[in-house]
Symmetry: C2
Subunit: 338 residues, 2 copies
């Protein structure tokens, strides 16, 4: 079922998350330590739920971005650790609430927290983690970082609500869809990157560069995620092929196929996405239509476009191993489709 | 159905929220204005849900506490408005999430937001409001106030999770129950009061006085709420008599009756509170048992105890109209049972 998208020449050098992982390994250990200590609570269920999610194989991509950005900007203090942990908590809280909102059964190949502890605990532990994220931001002591991250937190929620309103209609435009993922995914990538230079008190062009890098990396990341939903394997991703389809979650591959299809095909998509009627036969037809219109390949091409923007955003900054690592992450995000 | 608890002599002078309302009227108008402007979003559903809840007859008690406390401590700046609005947003976000967790149909006599827009929107708009609350705290520019309020935000969530775990057992002790309401209700009252002296940069004894006043006022408030659930009328409260009972929410009146009852009565309570089987006949029996053991009157007596602690917490502070107004609010909270 894998969709192999050949990487264009010149882009396959440095398509790896490895350099970033290696450069931030020591710091990530401190972040993990902090995360564990901040999920502690005398209320037993809280550490249990938090541990379930935090242990369940996330890559810690967002905190690694914070760590690398801070160091790249010459930051020498301790607060990049605190903010990196905050970013991961915000992400985790969002996942908990998302699973409730989407009624998801699985998350990264394990039962979702709501299936184990129920929706109620997922909502409340999400709130707890969000509160802890803000407390850690306060510990870090930077009002500007607080501003960046608290703004991201409202923007993420706005994106989710937007998706809730838009999700049910196949008339969603590509622009509408981009507006949603710009909020719900890219905003946190962007904030995670921007707080690095904020801590380092870098000048505005540097801050802008990291913000733009993060935003575009986030867009690329989400589009690839959307493509993978119709082409990854369960083992790779902890998702089943077609999860978005069965949930009626309208993503770019589907929007492209819908716009390019004839009347009969559009009727199929409306029926499949706007009602609860989809079965594996419908998924199979959907996959055929996606293939017919090249929708997955073109979604990846769109992702590559944002990936290029992310790379170019960092271009003016001086060369260093961390910059190379961040550039390489762009390739990694896109090359996940394989 | 009203339970009339005679106010002891000496406590019926100044049992009114009116002085507080009058002293903060101008500021509250500015708070309302700010609240409206901060619920704006291009995502239509957000202002709709937020407006539904914010318009639905809340008393703005918590923000009034912030405003009065700040002025009483001599604060002259503009940020008490911002923090008061933050406090109300935190409260509103909690209500949205609570209704989802408790599966409540009504809130203050109107359909709850989740009944109108669904659980999904309630979770997400709650997240949005929480994010906006933090952004406003950042605007207010006080790290200490941020610390106080973000800590309250995690403590509230902890309290809710604690309730989730404890809610199902009649073996909950009075102390366990107090620990829950100390987190889920009193923490926000306490933080709302404490940020006043924080803004005014008052000394530690003054801060401590307001924190203690808020905590104990919050405990009294919640205990009276619990008593009212078995004795208020729908029109007064926007709740039906017995809501907590039907939802199996174990509160102090029930815990007292359970502890004081014989084996047959305890079996009744376990059956009624720990299963979904309660009907109006069961409620009627429950009311009889509460009356037999004086549980409602004693819950009010407990509330009065915390009310006294709240008054005494403010005692060392110099007399002024705002102090009188805050003292009078204590009497008001308790005299709601009538």
């Amino acid at each position: 079922m894998g969709v192999v998208i050949p990487l264009e020449s010149g882009q396959d050098t440095g398509s790896s998350v490895k350099p970033l992982v290696e450069l931030t390994a020591g710091d990530i250990e401190r972040v993990n330590h902090l995360i564990l200590s901040k999920t502690g609570s005398q209320v037993e269920m809280i550490p249990a739920v938090a541990k379930h999610l935090i242990d369940s194989g996330g890559k810690r991509l967002r905190p690694m971005l914070t760590l690398a950005a801070a160091h790249m900007c010459g930051y020498q203090g301790p607060h990049h650790i605190t903010l990196a942990a905050s970013v991961e908590f915000m992400h985790t809280a969002t996942l908990l609430h998302d699973d409730v909102v989407d009624e998801s059964d699985m998350r990264r190949g394990k039962q979702s927290a709501r299936m184990v502890w129920g929706n109620q605990a997922s909502v409340l532990v999400g709130d707890f983690l969000l509160g802890q994220a803000f407390r850690m931001m306060v510990d870090a002591g930077s009002m500007e970082a607080l501003d960046v991250l608290s703004t991201a937190s409202t923007v993420i929620a706005e994106g989710e609500v937007m998706q809730l309103s838009a999700a049910q209609s196949m008339e969603t435009t590509e622009d509408d869809y981009l507006a949603v993922i710009r909020c719900k995914t890219a905003a946190l990538f962007s904030a995670a990157c921007e707080v690095g230079p904020v801590l380092a008190e870098s000048n505005k062009p540097v801050r802008d560069a990291f913000r733009s890098y993060g935003t575009n990396l986030g867009l690329a990341f989400q589009l690839i995620d959307d493509a993978l939903d119709y082409g990854g394997s369960k083992a790779d991703l902890g998702k089943n092929v077609g999860d978005d389809f069965y949930e009626g979650k309208i993503t770019l591959p589907v929007l492209l196929a819908y716009r390019r299809g004839d009347e009969e095909e559009r009727a199929f998509w409306r029926e499949a996405m706007e009602t609860d009627s989809s079965d594996s036969q419908a998924l199979s037809k959907a996959m055929d239509l996606l293939a017919k219109h090249g929708s997955i390949g073109d979604t990846v091409a769109r992702a590559r476009h944002y990936g290029e923007m992310a790379r170019d955003a960092l271009a003016p900054l001086p060369e260093c191993p961390r910059k190379q690592a961040l550039l390489s992450v762009v390739g990694f995000c896109i090359s996940r489709v394989s």
